[in-house]
């Protein structure tokens, strides 16, 4: 066995043991579809925020994990929040926390998902 084969094997073992933090196309599509399904409740979060501050706009990045086997979205946190509205923030965390993948993966997935908020012109 030459050294390049050994290194490849080494990398494969590492990735398998670490749960494979990269996302395949199917998993990406599933995550995107789940987030899209949360659009209505997140719009409601934003609408409530706009009542208090009509200038509320910007990007929020939600980081979370999809649990192995169940696909449940867990460990949700906000890693960027231009809006700065704690009510909207918590509301989005709650909305994302209700989601789970339609096709759960065998491994835990780590996801960072941006959400753009803007009022209708």
């Amino acid at each position: 066995m030459n050294s390049s084969l050994a290194i490849s094997l080494c990398a494969a073992l590492c990735a398998a043991a670490c749960g494979g933090t990269g996302l395949g196309a199917d998993a990406r599509a599933d995550v995107t579809a789940r987030m899209a399904s949360a659009q209505s409740p997140i719009v409601a979060c934003y609408h409530a925020g706009l009542k208090a501050n009509r200038k509320l706009t910007g990007t929020m990045v939600v980081a979370f994990a999809a649990a192995p086997d169940t696909g449940q979205f867990t460990d949700i946190r906000i890693t960027r929040d231009d809006l700065g509205d704690t009510g909207v923030r918590q509301c989005v965390i709650d909305a994302v926390g209700k989601l789970k993948l339609a096709r759960p993966q065998a491994t835990r997935l780590s996801i960072s998902y941006p959400i753009h908020f803007a009022p209708n012109p």
């Binding site: 073992l13 590492c14 043991a17 933090t21 996302l23 753009h116």
Partner: protein, 172 residues
Amino acid sequence: MRHLLFAALVAAGPGCSLITVQQEPFPPLEIRSERPPPAPARVVLTASSITIGEKVQFATGSAEILPVSHGLLDEVAKVLTDNPQIELLQVEGHTDSTGTAALNRRLSQQRAESVMKYLASKGVTAGRMVAKGFGPDRAIADNATDDGREKNRRVEFNIVKQGPKKTVVRDE
């Protein structure tokens, strides 16, 4: 070779946290919402008064203004500073008919003065205001009902004297 495999297995354990696979960014979820209509103004200047959409709240039986009303009174102060043509404003205190009229007149006078002092603390010239407590004398609703008494307990801002509209010039 054995050494490499061993190294891989070692890395697969506690070394996992050191391995980061850069995730291709997801396209953002676009969230759009109608802006709700602006809330109606709490403080409105009319030809003869400054009307307020909320009540000035006082501590029970006292002339102490509750902090919840500070924002409202700040808006009244701004109307006054923005409208120097209002030369004299009467800050009026009114009560319901519960208790003796004399006591109510005294309390309403103290509350009107308290409001006037607050406005002065916000930059309104004290000489532009006068405080008057009417007690229960100028009821606007039925004192026989809770709702009527609630309406009667109030502060009003009536313009006594005003000149022609003046343009406010502020230094740059």
